[in-house]
């Protein structure tokens, strides 16, 4: 099973972002490294960046990260020898399960972290990835590392 490792510190940051944005959806970019040492892909998150939810409408149900922003973050991270490996977003008062809309708009290869958030809590975080044929949006392993994973996070705003 594919697996993604996130430090507890980054998890806390994403949870805080989800709570601050509640009842709107929050969204952000995952920066990290991907390797396939034994045929099974492993991914480690080395930084998380908050994004603006640029969706023009009901932000409690939708998020949008603009290509300009993604492009800018990609340029910056690639210069630092890292890569954008996925995205996170919250589901206010909804479970940490991809919606049909999530699947319709997902890209393969990226890790999608979904945070279920309520007014008082972030009860669950789960990781998903779109299959190459786009037919299924499968849950992947999510390992929360107790110690921060080496590099410091880059946060903006």
């Amino acid at each position: 099973m594919k697996e993604v490792a996130v430090s507890a510190g980054f998890m806390d940051e994403m949870r805080a972002h989800a709570r601050e944005s509640y009842p709107d959806e929050c969204c952000g970019i995952l920066i990290g490294a991907t390797s396939e040492p034994d045929g099974e892909r492993r991914r480690t998150i080395l930084a998380v960046e908050r994004s603006r939810n640029e969706f023009d409408g009901e932000r409690r149900r939708r998020f949008l990260i603009l290509p300009e922003e993604l492009r800018e973050v990609e340029r910056r991270t690639e210069r630092a020898g890292r890569a954008v490996v996925g995205f996170y977003h919250s589901h206010p008062d909804h479970p940490a399960q991809p919606s049909q809309y999530d699947q319709d708009h997902a890209w393969p290869w990226y890790t999608y972290l979904i945070l279920a958030v309520t007014a008082s809590d972030v009860p669950r975080v789960a990781a998903f990835e779109l299959d190459a044929d786009t037919s299924t949006f499968q849950e992947t392993g999510l390992v929360v590392a107790p110690e921060p994973v080496s590099l410091p996070s880059v946060t903006r705003w």
């Binding site: 603006r52 640029e54 969706f55 023009d56 998020f63 603009l66 300009e68 919606s99 393969p108 190459a132």
Partner: protein, 495 residues
Amino acid sequence: MPKTTVKVPTPLRPFAGGAAELALEGSTVGGVIRTLADANPALKRHLFTPEGRLRNFVTVYLNDEDIRYLERESTPLKDGDIVSIVPAVAGGAPSSARSSSRPSKLTAIAPEPEESFSRDELRRYSRHLLLPEVGVAGQRKLRHAKVLLVGAGGLGAPTALYLAAAGVGEIGLVDFDSIDLSNLQRQVLYTTPDVGRPKLAVAKERLEALNPGTRVTPYEERLTSANALDIVGRYDVVVDGTDNFPTRYLVNDASVLLGKPNVYGSIYRFEGQVSVFDAKRGPCYRCLYPEPPPPDLVPSCAEAGVLGVLPGLVGVLQATETVKLILGRGELLIGRLLLYDALSLKFRELKLQKNPECVLCSPAATQTGLIDYPAFCGVPTSEAPLAQGTVPEVEPEALHAELESSEPPFLVDVRAPEEWAIAHLPGAHLIPKGELPERVDELTRASHLVLYCRSGKRSADATRLLLDLGFSHVRTLRGGINAWAERVDPSMAQY
């Protein structure tokens, strides 16, 4: 055909043989992308809809420009161009109301630009659209925004220019002046051939020429307690570019009563102030200054002078805050007073607190409507200053005749030395108004005194002072040196 490089985003590389970029030939952007897709069928479904249209969350850049702001897929290519495919990332929770219906991708994702902005508009605002903090959604907010500028002078001119350029949909302007040559040193909306024309007619012309998408509504009248609530009520944000205290308090009070943010700016010689007063989120102008200063302590720009570029900077800061208010972005100057000193080029910031006893915006507020602002500020309601008309006056022509006679009056110029240097009456004696009380002994030997200043206001006050001190034969030159220049000596400079 032009040779180009196509950059493939990370998630799609496995479908393009793992390549990060490919060298492809094609004459248009759409052409090379289709070539790429045809060569890699697995890639195709990620780029195109089953109907063969580019999926709307696939963004394509030609070099550094989004092709939606160029000629889209028909954008022509030349040798060496770089075409980048960039994903827009979207998603969201299931819609609780219509969880079964699949949301339309067209309306759910970045709006199709041609639905709301024309090609020209997309190009005009492209540098805004590229900013994540503005984008199409922000630009639409600007288009729907209504901003009232009170005053189309030194502050209003740069503010209006930038707001129109930024795409603010509606700008209201309140002013009743005509353009004077002395305005052009700082009021950059106007040009030399405009001198003598009404400010608002020229402003409307200029701003609508700058941006035909901006509608400019002129209110060629004084803002008063009778019309302020009606006019201010039509707008989302008020920008205070006034040059006097009665109007400043009026703008503040109307904004607080109507719950509108008030972007405040003021200038004095080399110093400027900017803040955003929004009583819902912070203090109002009255929290800062519950009472106006005594009227004779606050010389206007006409009396004190002002560095011409100063209102440019202050007005642009006001425009910046206005745009941020509209976008709902960034940290606003709410509860902060920014002080700028052009001479030392220093900015300082003061924290402002909401006054818990503010008569207007606190829970203990006692004022629930507009008041008589000229009376509140101690300035006369008529056009003429208070002392003028109540002290003995002399008309310029009569003074001219007296000066030619055998017993000419003793002339006292009560202006500042800088003004004296511009022009003064021959034979006059300079005693700036502020120095008058300690220098009255210089006047005791004169039998008849005539005092003058620029427009007659200060010399009327000074005349009142001398009469109160016991001088009996004192008069003021009505209309000041400017009236003299107009009616007696056209060769003399007016300012």
